[in-house]
Amino acid sequence: MNSTAQPYAIMAEFDTPADAMHAAEQIRDAGFRRWDVHTPYPVHGMDAAMGLKNSKVGYFTFLGGLIGYTSGMLMIWFMNMYDYAIVVGGKPLFNPLFSFPVSYECTILLASFASLGGMLFLNGLPKHYHPLLKNPRFKAGASHDKFLIAIECADPRYSPTETRKLLEAAGSKHIEMVED
């Protein structure tokens, strides 16, 4: 159907997490940017091997928490002072003390929403299509017993011959091109 398919990435298959990790270190040191490692389970140390920095989700969490806390306080302040002002137990109409538990819950609620939303946003999810997912070898290995590295052809460092050599030198036993 798609006879003029463009190459999307070069994909290398490794048998052990150690092989994939060493290959990732070499790719990181070669200066590639648009690439990823796909493993059936989280491999400890892979973040450092790939040169990934700390996740930015924390900023979304903090911002969500801050908004949650402020909006909780403002909500209670508005309701108790103006919307339905009623004296209970001789207490002031508004006080941050009794508003704190609810504001604190709002903090946690919005912080968790922001974490989830931020994670999806940073990952570019939801995504309806990804070229790797129609590759039979990827489908068979990535969620079972193989460790796969895919370097996108759009990476400025990519070269059809040199990149293949790099992956071969890193110890991959099977390398193939993935079409878009």
Binding site: H44, G58, L97, F100
Partner: protein, 434 residues
């Protein structure tokens, strides 16, 4: 000897259970009695608070040197007891959670915990001797003071001395038991020692909870025996473990720099202590807020007088320092993951934590004799420095006398992330596990 051990152990277990349940029963019944009688102590407490408030703006009642010394000593004692019990707690949870990250830091925590007996017990002697000067309830007649009468089950002279002694014995038994097994494992490497430590920890956590609560009630909360707060024990606990974690961070860093822990204390240890420190920053704030919030919301005079007293003079400022300095500043500083691994931030935070915990101890103890505000004197400095120096020297000696970290703990491979290939028959059943 061998035959005696299981019997002695069972006997001890029974005694401990009995003590725990008696303590629980006593605290419950004293609460029931207290609930029946609300009018009288309330009236007394409020009138006392109001009187104090009126006179506080004028001259403060002069405090005798002996009394000032006793209170300064109590503040310093409770501060360092925090570190000792906090360390005991960290050793206990290490075994309870079967954690591997804390193996490198466990030994020095064991040493600090072992200071509880005999050294903290010896340091308690001045408090025991000066008890009548420190605790006003000891000079009152329960027949004339309703609050004291209602709490007489715990607040009587024999109970004070017996419980205080038993607390030190329990802490000594626990901490020395844990360290003895740990040191024995250094030689044999047998897993049976880990199992023995686990048993100490499993029973010990209950003993720890009851004993630390009793210590906080008897030695600090009893300064104002009319007061009620069901979370006072956990309040002292939260502040204690917080301070201990900050201290443990710096000790770990120091021991890594100077050598003993150079190869075993790694990023993970600092990260995990930092994470726990952040958790306890929040936990302390949660507990202290809850205590204040419940008292504020209920507005019962038997309870509010405690905070009313602490809003007078510069105690108001210390209260705010605790809100912002004990919680907000460390909380915001510790949020980022890289902050927890950065010694140039963590060292100031540890010093800050000591200062905040000291403020907290002052805030709990000193308003009784200094209702007008903070009054730090030479006794405060001398007691703090004296107890601190003594305990530090003792710690240094015991650290030097033993291996700096558990030598043959079965968890080492996991701790350092080393892959150990399975061998023999064991491999057949476990080889494919990971």
């Amino acid at each position: 000897m061998k035959l005696l051990f299981p019997i002695a152990r069972k006997f001890l277990a029974v005694v401990i259970m009995a003590v725990s349940f008696t303590a629980l029963a006593l605290s419950l019944t004293s609460n029931v009695f207290a609930a029946e009688s609300h009018a009288e102590p309330a009236a007394q407490a409020t009138s006392a608070a109001v009187d104090h408030g009126a006179s506080a703006t004028h001259d403060e009642v002069p405090v005798s040197a002996v009394k000032q010394f006793a209170y300064s000593y109590l503040v310093a004692f409770m501060f360092f007891l925090s570190l000792v019990l906090g360390s005991l707690f960290l050793v206990i949870i290490h075994h309870l959670f079967d954690s591997n990250w804390s193996v490198p830091i466990r030994r020095f925590l064991e040493h600090i915990a072992c200071l509880s007996f005999p050294w903290m017990a010896i340091l308690f002697v001045p408090i025991a001797v000066l008890a009548k000067t420190i605790y006003p309830w000891m000079s009152l007649d329960p027949a004339e003071d309703h609050a004291l009468h209602a709490k007489a089950a715990l607040f009587n002279m024999p109970a004070f001395y017996v419980v205080s002694s038993v607390l030190f014995l329990l802490w000594g038994w626990l901490s020395h038991g844990l360290r003895r097994e740990s040191l024995a494992q250094d030689k044999t490497g047998a897993a049976s020692h880990t199992k023995a430590m686990r048993r100490y920890a499993a029973g010990g956590i209950f003993i720890f909870a009851f004993s630390m609560t009793l210590a906080a009630i008897y030695w600090v909360k009893a300064l104002e025996h009319q007061w009620f707060s069901t979370m006072y024990g956990v309040y002292y606990f939260a502040g204690s473990v917080w301070t201990t974690l900050a201290t443990a961070y710096v000790i770990t860093y120091w021991l890594k720099q100077t050598g003993p822990l150079r190869d075993v204390a790694r990023e993970r240890q600092f990260h995990d202590i930092g994470v726990l420190l952040l958790a306890f920053t929040v936990f302390y704030a949660y507990i202290h807020f809850s205590q204040y919030f419940l008292i504020w919301n209920a507005a019962v005079p038997e309870e509010t007088f405690w905070y009313v007293k602490r809003e007078k003079g510069s105690w108001w400022g210390i209260g705010l320092v605790i809100v912002f300095g004990h919680f907000l500043v460390p909380f915001l500083s510790l949020l980022r993951i890289d902050a927890k691994k950065n010694i140039s931030l963590m060292a100031p935070i540890a010093i800050w934590a000591w200062l905040m915990h000291y403020c907290d101890m002052q805030f709990n103890i000193m308003p009784v004799i200094h209702p007008n505000g903070v009054a730090i004197g030479i006794f405060d400095v001398l007691c703090f420095a004296g107890i601190g120096w003594l305990l530090f020297t003792l710690f240094k000696n015991s650290f030097a006398a033993h291996p700096p970290y558990p030598q043959k703990d079965p968890r080492w491979a996991e701790t350092l992330g080393v892959y150990v290939p399975a061998t023999g028959a064991h491999a057949a059943s476990h080889g494919g596990g990971k």
